[in-house]
Amino acid sequence: MTHIASTGLLSNVSLQRRAHNIRRKAILMGEVQGQGYVGQALGVSDVLAVCFFHALELRAEDPEWEGRDRFLLSIGHYAIAIYAAFMEAGILPEEELETYGMDDSRMPMSGMASYTPGMEITGGSLGHGLGIGVGMALGLKRKNNPALVYNLMSDGELGEGSTWEAAMSASHHKLDNLIAIVDFNDQQADGKSTEMLSSEPVPDKWTAFGWFAQRVDGNDIGALVAAFDAARDHPGRQPRVIICDTKMCKGVPFLEQRDATHFVRVEPDEWAKALSVLDEEIPA
């Protein structure tokens, strides 16, 4: 598979700094609503920085450019994180940040295709993204379009049977243009994912389903870059999965300590504190 040089989003801003900026914007949006899936956003920011500023071929000014890599947000509630990444990438104007979750906003609390430029699918009903990705990957091959399909999903979605239908299908159809990203933060609504319905050993399952599987520290930018490069360059005619072990609320230690972080409760006076803690270490 050939990799076409990125068309606009590369810059001399470090990926670490991008991740920091995504975290900042997510916290600012959380403050707008006084709530939100900020824990997930902070946890997945490093993954998104690598996606949007290293891996994906995108044109910020033309989110529907036919040559773009498709980025599917299967986990609709992570929308806050994606909006932050979209703003950082220039797909959405930063001025809209304060409209997050408001009436008539282009940024609803759960990601939907009809609301937001760059949002490829309506996510949120978990276990849908990977199957849609299978169809997109088949369609791209039909069109001889070399673009890749990235599907961002959660560890909780590994409990959905539809995920495994899609996993089997992707492998059967030899979809080497499909890359699944599993945000493994070990948290879901009722507690730790591994205690709700364990999907371990996760990489072994994907491998058994015919995928090229990697598991990395999802808060280590260097490891993520290497994994995304390896996923893209892997020579096998098979789909690829990157299981990213992430830490909820990463970057804001006092929130990291908090229990039940699926829907992290942040007191009104804590948003500013979270920002200042985050800003104590601004990456170069």
């Binding site: 849908h128 849609i132 997109m136 299908s169």
Partner: protein, 342 residues
């Protein structure tokens, strides 16, 4: 299990006087005195694909039983066998539609409506994607029992926004609905008649053409108006022919588009003072009959109203002719019901 159900368990069923084998398929309908066309859906889709590059076909291990194998033979590189996995069947169809294709996805009506609902709803309908879902064994068209009898598929799907619903009567309907479905910019669910499908409507109305969204008078009559869809239009027409011999004039308004219903035509015909009977191959809950009833009531048009349809029950297994007699869908049963209401 309730006490009543337990008491009924293993109870010997009454053996019909003429024993008939369990009917797997509706193909036997072709034997009802009409000419039949083989696999009208498969041939129509193959023809359409010759002129429209966007057409692709997918099936969940039921291409042979939805006539999609005809398309697969003629356009092998445009057919995707998705295996016995209805959730990814619908999701992948959505993905192909995202990439500009017009996917026709086939399975049985029970599996699409019961198993794949969320995927049709959120991956397809919410985004108004042009996926065409074509499903065999609608209503009571198999004797396999509730696992295969989609007696409530219309009720399930009618509540889904954006989804157009079609219940064709015969080979002409099935063949002609295909290009109209493809031309509609959004999702469509169609109930399929497969195999050797009778050609009914042109026997009664030689210039008949299927028109998406339109109900059409197939036969005029002064005493009774039957509003029907699917194979029940055939039964209504056959019943009307018989009833005419007894001096009972029955009009038949064929309404193959269940949603959106052709409100104007139905209201115009319903306002003519006749007994109005709806006839559908579906439970009386949530299908054509209740859709017509609501349309009438909302408009303040209140003819005497009766429903022919399946009971709110899990149906028996057995031979289709037996079951259609038992549950009121056979021509004989339609005649008896209409006579009883006059």
């Amino acid at each position: 299990m309730t006490a009543a159900a337990r008491a009924r368990r293993y109870e010997a069923r009454k053996v019909p006087e003429t024993r008939q084998a369990t009917s797997a398929m509706i193909a036997s309908l072709a034997a009802e005195g009409y000419d039949a066309a083989p696999a009208p859906f498969g041939h129509a889709l193959s023809d359409l694909a010759n002129t429209d590059e966007r057409i692709v076909g997918l099936s969940a291990d039921l291409s042979k039983y939805t006539d999609l194998h005809i398309f697969a033979q003629k356009h092998p590189d445009r057919f995707y066998q998705m295996g016995m996995a209805e959730q990814v069947l619908m999701s992948a169809a959505a993905g192909l539609a995202h990439e500009g294709f017009i996917p026709f996805a086939t399975t049985y009506a029970v599996f699409a409506s019961r198993r794949a609902y969320d995927f049709i709803c959120m991956a397809i309908a919410e985004e108004n994607l042009p996926v065409k879902i074509v499903c065999a064994l609608p209503g009571l068209t198999t004797g396999y029992g509730p696992s295969h009898q989609a007696t409530e598929d219309l009720a399930i799907f009618r509540g889904m926004p954006n989804l157009v619903i079609v219940d064709p009567c015969d080979a002409v309907d099935v063949a002609q609905m295909v290009p109209e479905m493809a031309a509609h910019d959004g999702p469509v669910y169609a109930r399929l008649l497969r195999g050797n499908v009778p050609s009914v409507l042109r026997r009664h109305k030689p210039d008949y053409r299927f028109r998406l969204g339109k109900a059409q008078m197939i036969r005029e009559g002064a005493d009774v108006l039957v509003v029907s869809s699917g194979l029940m239009t055939m039964r209504a027409l056959d019943a009307a022919t018989e009833l005419a011999r007894d001096g009972i004039e029955v009009a038949v308004l064929h309404s193959p588009t269940i949603k959106p219903l052709d409100r104007d035509t139905i209201l115009a015909e319903a306002g003519k003072g006749r007994l109005l009977v709806t006839a559908e191959n579906h439970t009386v809950i949530g299908g054509l009959g209740e859709a017509v009833a609501a349309t009438l009531l909302r408009a303040g048009v209140t003819p005497t109203f009766r429903q022919i349809g399946l009971p709110d029950a899990f149906l028996e297994a057995g031979a289709l002719p037996t079951l259609h007699d038992m549950y009121g869908l056979s021509t004989k049963a339609v005649i008896a019901q209409i006579k009883g209401w006059l």
